[in-house]
Symmetry: D2
Subunit: 428 residues, 4 copies
Amino acid sequence: MYNKDKVALTPPLGWNSWDCYGPAVNEEQLLGNAAYMAEHLKSHGWEYVVCDIQWYEPEAGKYHWDYNRFAQLCMDENGRLLPAENRFPSAANGAGFKPIADQVHAMGLKFGIHIMRGVPRLAVHNRLKIKGTDISCHTIAHRNSICAWNTDMYGVDADREGAQAYYDSIFELYASWGIDYVKVDDICNVKATPLEEYSARREIEMIRKAIDGCGRNMVLSLSPGPAVIKEAWHLAKHANMWRITDDFWDNWPSLLEMFWRCEVWQAHVKPGQYPDCDMLPLGHISITEDGKGHYTNFTKPEQVTLMTLWGIFRAPLIMGGELRDNDAFTLSLLTNDELLHLNQHGGTPLQLFRDETKAAWLNFVGETPYIALFNLQAEPAEVSASLTELVGDASYTAVELWTGETTAVQGEITAQLEPHGAKIFKLI
Amino acid sequence: MYNKDKVALTPPLGWNSWDCYGPAVNEEQLLGNAAYMAEHLKSHGWEYVVCDIQWYEPEAGKYHWDYNRFAQLCMDENGRLLPAENRFPSAANGAGFKPIADQVHAMGLKFGIHIMRGVPRLAVHNRLKIKGTDISCHTIAHRNSICAWNTDMYGVDADREGAQAYYDSIFELYASWGIDYVKVDDICNVKATPLEEYSARREIEMIRKAIDGCGRNMVLSLSPGPAVIKEAWHLAKHANMWRITDDFWDNWPSLLEMFWRCEVWQAHVKPGQYPDCDMLPLGHISITEDGKGHYTNFTKPEQVTLMTLWGIFRAPLIMGGELRDNDAFTLSLLTNDELLHLNQHGGTPLQLFRDETKAAWLNFVGETPYIALFNLQAEPAEVSASLTELVGDASYTAVELWTGETTAVQGEITAQLEPHGAKIFKLI
Amino acid sequence: MYNKDKVALTPPLGWNSWDCYGPAVNEEQLLGNAAYMAEHLKSHGWEYVVCDIQWYEPEAGKYHWDYNRFAQLCMDENGRLLPAENRFPSAANGAGFKPIADQVHAMGLKFGIHIMRGVPRLAVHNRLKIKGTDISCHTIAHRNSICAWNTDMYGVDADREGAQAYYDSIFELYASWGIDYVKVDDICNVKATPLEEYSARREIEMIRKAIDGCGRNMVLSLSPGPAVIKEAWHLAKHANMWRITDDFWDNWPSLLEMFWRCEVWQAHVKPGQYPDCDMLPLGHISITEDGKGHYTNFTKPEQVTLMTLWGIFRAPLIMGGELRDNDAFTLSLLTNDELLHLNQHGGTPLQLFRDETKAAWLNFVGETPYIALFNLQAEPAEVSASLTELVGDASYTAVELWTGETTAVQGEITAQLEPHGAKIFKLI
Amino acid sequence: MYNKDKVALTPPLGWNSWDCYGPAVNEEQLLGNAAYMAEHLKSHGWEYVVCDIQWYEPEAGKYHWDYNRFAQLCMDENGRLLPAENRFPSAANGAGFKPIADQVHAMGLKFGIHIMRGVPRLAVHNRLKIKGTDISCHTIAHRNSICAWNTDMYGVDADREGAQAYYDSIFELYASWGIDYVKVDDICNVKATPLEEYSARREIEMIRKAIDGCGRNMVLSLSPGPAVIKEAWHLAKHANMWRITDDFWDNWPSLLEMFWRCEVWQAHVKPGQYPDCDMLPLGHISITEDGKGHYTNFTKPEQVTLMTLWGIFRAPLIMGGELRDNDAFTLSLLTNDELLHLNQHGGTPLQLFRDETKAAWLNFVGETPYIALFNLQAEPAEVSASLTELVGDASYTAVELWTGETTAVQGEITAQLEPHGAKIFKLI
């Protein structure tokens, strides 16, 4: 275990603004969701409130969920991005996110922000000086590294003098605000090889070093995926969580796909090191300026499947929906203490089998086995798993975590599953 | 034949500033080479004088042959690049390249410039308006198309309103200056497929349309290579010449490689449509601020091989060395009227054979066959080609174009060749 | 032009057994189709009758259109495949295909066969001796070259002694039978590079040499496609036709795809050198043992589109359907003498334009222009082409080749087209 | 842990015939090396004696280290390969490897063999029946799966009836011989995806099932590498060791490369599941028919580096040299009990760092840390590793395992290393 792992000895539980508000979230929405979390979720272990992309863009949301191209971003004289005051009024007078972080902390919660890797293009072309140096931002911008889907930043060239100083300067600022969690974007699905001029590895290492030196613990989350499996050891060494999927939304094919993503990454779930299946697109999401979005397109069995897979795989659980619009079913998905216990305190998960129609996973909390059975078909199905090899031939009582039903099992466990449904059993 | 082919019914013959001066060429050098051409080469058919990259960058050359990153380029209020006046004094008062073009024209020659595809990044971030419109340059910049090796421009997104208007505006300016030849860079080695967001095809088509509408004939040359053979029909339809190689310099492996590049492209040599083997790095090249460069590293036989291959393949011949420093041998390479006659008036070339050690090519001017024999080895060698299949069994007198030697041949032609050397025979 | 081109100065016109009978064709069917051709098509220029794959496999067809795996093939003591006598009774007593070829010749037609590149696996494992040598077939088999979809052969390793002797031995046999056309399979869609151990180029060259030395002219046709465009010059040098597509069948997406295949290959259509769009799946095809197949799934407009594209592109026309079951419409497609004239005597075709909805092509016979307009949409559409650039502004009478309708045109030509339909105009 | 892991709770230690005898090993050599192992190595934990490739080929070695193409292999009437009696006399009368295995067992050691995945081509073309069935071998051969470098076998098509029965039949035979270890070749560096017709996964699963059902424990080793990291979970589930490299020989670039291979695979070292760095090419290797080979080209420091990396990474240690020709230094490398203790009883290894010049690894036996420092340069160098993060700030005595030298360390450990050399410290 690395020192950086200690900030997340169990998978982070939290909320992120992207799935409900895209780039347009504002102060009221952040604090409103924080208040909800404090009241309804904190006692179940949830703690992070995370503001996603483009909080520094006054016009974010003007083009709905697309990004303004070549936008006029808010920043200080050192090219450090600042919250747009029209969206985050408490940031006025250079306060940044400190007032919001303070309020979130006062609720007993933690506060996180999203950043893009790199240096703002405007800071480069306006030749702003890196804080505490005489080096212009244009000298550290990489000449051949941009984000494919957003025009705000240039990548930072680790070979240039001032590169680390720039990253240090922004994390110094974030530490002064009281940030507890940083989701760094456009950095995780890049393959690093000796042959490529640009290497995401170098920027990840600069960010790690900046966090280690900023005087404040922060969870480091890397996006977007899919991460490259060959980089697993490097991600585990430098980050706390890294996305193994591209953006995940509320449709069955994406959920189905997560089964083979988890299959590939299963050996890499360790304390402080979590393959990340992305946010939970549950409840009220995709909300536009008129306040209207839609409730998740997942069926109830699919939502159970999602929570069961994330739960037993021990993925970070970051709710994506507007918490204040949760219905009772959505809330129940987030407050299943038995499942959360497994998620927080289990070990490295093991896929028992997977084919076109079904899958099964195993995990343990201490000596207690948990087995999840999944029906990947669009029709009801019976799914069984042999217990003999990995759990032995003893008799168990199987407690299903979503229904509380109990059955006696020996040698094999079987469940009748709804279309795209799942059950998860604790064997006692 | 397309209308655009008529501007180059024979392969362009000219000089380009890159091989000798890189990005740092100045007015005196342009005009000095033009004067040399008028005096020594014009009578042999040479006519184009071309100013290569970054004439709009005042500091070009400050970093020797590297490009300043994120440089402060000269441009008008519409984001159209202008010659840097410190390097091109006659461009003062908004005259642009007109005074230089006028002088070149007065010598009976033609004048060309290099441009990068795209719109200047500074014009984008400063939101300059496209000439004659109310559209800001930032609205036409492609969000995911930059040059891999130069930070001056963003690609232009053909799907955005104003994209064609921008290209029209710059070619209107070039026409007003009297430009005869445009070498467009960062546009030719890009694979265009339906799956890729960015397609070089679209920018090529906008440039073609802008030239056709600008009121002045201009040769359109596309760089850098290697061009993609699958795009051959598209290049032939829109351009007059397109690079089939990356930058070509004075070393044997690059020259050897050109043999298989020519092999692949041979069927595509047609009037007005020329696969381009890049400039001739002969004579005095790679000159830095102190005025010192080096004389081509090619041996004399290699220089003969180069001229012979370019000649019979009917590649455009664009001299790269400082003409005023030509020695007698270098000048002799450029003034072989028999070879130039073949280059200008031959047909589609045909490779007779090629293996690791030797190659042979055939072309015709009218009914007269020309055969070139190449020794690709580092030792002297005898190379033969059978004449029977393609030229028949008649008796010929073979006149070697570099030496004037004649021999009687029938059925087969044989030559003793120096290491990396060549001979080329006209059969009469 | 190479000597080998002279056997096919115009695109071959013929019939092939694959589309109607797959691997199971027999003597009666070959001769029956030949007789039909002699009676109905020969006067329009058709001449080749070609027996497709696995004529040496007694059980071909037993698994319908699939190939028996590891079948017991008929061959002589030198590993040369022989017609299965149960299917071709006249081949008895070692006569091979000579009796059939003789009959086809007597009708004034020509006879062709299909072969797989390589040496029979059975000849390898049974260590049969190559004719006229003491070399066992197992010494020339390539250790890492098999066909991906058929288990009959091993590739021949050009580096092994006996490799050329083997190919010579089989073409000597084919010449003795009177074969006029050889379709070599599993050889055309292989990319040849210096890095790959196996190179199709080497087998193509051995086959070319074997034909040149066998004492009889034969058209050399290479399959399957898609051929690699980078190999165009090599294919043009050694073969008469080469497939630019994988197997082509009677569905619109495949026909639509042919438009971009032709786009890419247009410059390579020359006398004796034809990019091959595959057989015409028209009329009665896909016939199984019970004698029942289906009539082409193409609509009538699609069939006109197919014939128009193949016609103006100057692809070889090889009918795939059972000729004796032709209806009047199918026969009319094969006997449009104006279209056949263009196909046989046109020049290198030129695509005027192509997008998602339409396409246009141009060709000339002598000075006479032909223009084909295509509607690629599923609804009726009007399609126009400008004549100005390539044909000039003169007044023409446009004669539509399928309907005979005439219209006066100047500067532009327009047609109302059926869904997926085409018209082709001769301008006089 | 899976049941199959129990046969190799610690990394296998043994000897394999390939590095010294290639395909030509014989009975005397197997038993001679076994006797040496029993006398000199067994007390240090070594136990496996493994006969490598082509024991069923009477002429193996005739072409030195190349494989005869399309050889006449020894097999029974069911297509099951048998030892060539000219090389293994005790195999006469159908005894197979039982007499040799019995003798090895009598020495207190275990016996292993190499096999190629698949069914012999001769069994296919001769249509031998699979044991206990009426199914011919030709029905289970895959139509598109051969080995790229050896012509003995066809892959087995898991979709065909009889496929599992064939694998069961050969493992039944191996169990009857008393085989303890099977190295399956041509199976490990194949990428398995849903898009590819052939999948190595399917053959691995059939082999796993055949071993599980054969009534005898056998270590399953998969070759050659490099294994695909995306398949790590599948390999861990079905095999005991899998090659992460192509064939490894005695040159520094290959050894250097192993550092990044181990880097990528480090998380996957678990009981019964070992990424395999290939045999140890130490001592007398590459022996030809005249009995002469060469002593390893590795320098002594490189040999120490090799053993140190394999040791701390917990790779299986399979000696490749002729044991009877070991010199004292070579023997000392194999009998360092402290290193063997770490190799056998350590945990999952962790790379501390790696760059172009140096590397460091950490492992633990229980609570005791071991740290290895490597000099990857060709000059002597000092290499240090910080202990603080992972081992803490306590004071330790560092015992170097190759020299026994001790030093006091705290917070950091430093070593002076020879060119390409290593040291490994136990911290007590």
